[in-house]
Symmetry: C2
Subunit: 187 residues, 2 copies
């Protein structure tokens, strides 16, 4: 997952490189390519975005974006899901959504892929927390657990019927069980 | 790793059960048996205890115990390594070490075993943090990372040459690299 870089590159250098697929991130001076998304990842990503936007878009509270590059605090990351409060969504002068997001998300959701080192994803969530992200989630589909990161890098673990913490003012109630239940397709 | 328990058992019930090998723990109402320790686990466990006790025993600062049952906060756990500040080590009236430790350790070190769910070990470390443990370490030999838990359940990730946080007043300096270097035996 780590691309060996002999020479130290800067954020400015990194930003100029062509985008890769899956996206590459630049965190703490290190370039990391995201794992190739698979079934579970894809399903959870779209389910979350849909669920959040269903309750948060019309009342203009927040919006959830999949795979959006966010550059802040000397790093550039592409969270699986980045949720921004409505008034913080960067816009052009004509009021259209900006292409470059140079601010921290308010809520970041990461889905652990098989074989992906947990420390890399946690490092990303802690970077967000340090720069103002109010809530981080690390979903572990294998363990069916959610690790939440709160301000001050405080963490909690949720599983089963535990009610998950949601970004304030978003009218959503979810348990760990419900989320991982999305992975089962009834016949 | 989880032993299915249909009926709810209490801490009092659990304590009366015979000890198992590996030890069983009772956390948040759930009985969990520790994984069978293997090479890496065994090596790290003894290395840590030796290193800590070498600097902390003679000046009566602290003592590191492997596999010691600690019962507090409605749970009973057996950390891989439990470090107690000298003055907090429970003693009998005659000044001998007590057999039952009914207090939280000051520093808890857990070594993740292959296949062991990280959430279970983190839940244990967070339980300790909530009840007063100053420092928790979760060593991940596969990822060569250390997740540290500070008061208020605040976490940080350490790897490579990062200097690891040590329980205050213990005169020890260690990096993640040094610790996982202990796993290599020179020929």
């Amino acid at each position: 997952m780590t691309i060996a870089t002999e020479r130290q590159i800067t954020l400015e250098d990194f930003i100029k490189l062509p985008e890769t697929k899956p996206a590459s991130e630049f965190i703490n001076g290190e370039i990391l390519q995201k794992p190739m998304p698979q079934g579970e990842h894809s399903r959870l990503q779209i389910k979350f975005c849909t669920n959040i936007n269903q309750v948060a878009e019309t009342p203009k509270i927040a919006y959830a974006f999949p795979e959006l590059r966010c550059t802040f605090g000397g790093s550039t990351i592409v969270p699986d899901i980045a949720v921004f409060r409505w008034e913080r969504i960067p816009k052009t002068e004509s009021g259209r959504i900006a292409n470059r997001f140079e601010i921290h998300p308010d809520w970041v959701i990461e889905i652990l892929s098989p074989e992906q080192p947990q420390k890399k994803v946690l490092t990303k969530l802690l970077h967000c927390s340090r720069y103002g992200t109010e809530l981080g989630w690390l979903l572990n589909p294998e363990e069916e657990s959610v690790l939440a990161v709160f301000p001050g890098q405080k963490i909690e673990i949720y599983e089963g019927d535990d009610k998950l913490p949601i970004l304030e003012n978003i009218n959503l109630e979810l348990t760990a069980k419900e989320i991982f239940g999305w992975l089962s397709f009834g016949s």
